[in-house]
């Protein structure tokens, strides 16, 4: 599991590569926490283009980032989501909470 972050002014893009499971989740959460504390972005973009696998551990990683961004008064979106991680994220209805690949999350949630 590899995380790379690219700050662009008020936006922070974090790209994930590899397999995001329980084994990798702790390290991913820690790295993401540190980046958010350091950059304090307005918008967080999670780029999942390099993800080869994700299970429900990834849901917890995304939810943690979402909650932190809510505390910061900012927003989160996900892009380049491959099929398998997309199916896991949709099973938890995260696509209804966080915009995924340019599709706006329906309001009211």
């Amino acid at each position: 599991m590899e995380l790379k972050s690219i700050p662009r002014g008020a936006e922070l893009e974090v790209s994930f590569a590899g397999e995001l499971d329980h084994h990798a989740a702790k390290q991913a959460m820690h790295a993401l926490d540190e980046e958010l504390e350091e950059q304090l972005p307005r918008n967080l973009v999670l780029d999942f283009g390099g993800l080869q696998f994700m299970d429900s551990s990834g849901i917890a990683v995304v939810m943690r980032a979402y909650r932190r961004m809510q505390e910061l008064g900012g927003s989160v979106c996900m892009k380049n989501v491959p099929d398998q991680p997309g199916k896991v994220l949709r099973a938890a209805a995260l696509d209804r909470l966080i915009p995924m690949d340019g599709k706006k999350a329906p309001s009211g949630l």
Partner: protein
């Protein structure tokens, strides 16, 4: 059920590094049923959830043993059994509910929900203090051979 057409049995300690090993082994075995990429993704996800449950919940403070049994049955049905000898589940109904977890904020509570929705069937048997057996089945649609 009749004897399986093919089978594989694995046993490994509950190190989190074995999550990736278990789902890759299940995917390799499942390949002989000629699944689609989506079906293969479903199988890997379900195995990952079941094995992670053993590591996080069955053996929270120790390293215990996890068994993974893979069966290829007639009708192109894949059966996956994940068993542990850990602490067991007190309330299976509650454990199956979406978002329910005893694992704190680091866990999503979606494990059993995903196993249930990504596979055709899910059966959980558990005895507190003795261990848990999760049995999942998925029928892989047989596609016309490509000439």
């Amino acid at each position: 059920m009749k004897r399986a057409r093919n089978q594989a049995d694995l046993q490994f300690p509950s190190h989190s590094a074995n999550e990736g090993f278990a789902r890759a082994a299940a995917a390799c075995f499942a390949a002989q049923l000629d699944p689609t990429l989506e079906e293969l993704g479903d199988i890997k996800t379900a195995v990952s959830e079941a094995v992670t449950n053993c590591i996080v919940h069955a053996y929270p403070d120790t390293i215990g043993s996890i068994a993974l049994k893979l069966r290829h049955h007639d009708g192109n049905v894949l059966e996956i059994v994940v068993r542990d000898w850990g602490c067991g589940i007190e309330n299976i109904e509650q454990a199956r509910e979406p978002l329910f977890t005893t694992g704190g904020a680091d866990r999503s509570g979606m494990g059993f929900t995903i196993m249930e929705s990504f596979m055709d069937s899910l059966r959980i048997r558990s005895v507190p203090g003795r261990g848990t057996t999760v049995t999942m089945k998925k029928k892989i649609a047989q596609r016309a051979a490509v000439r």
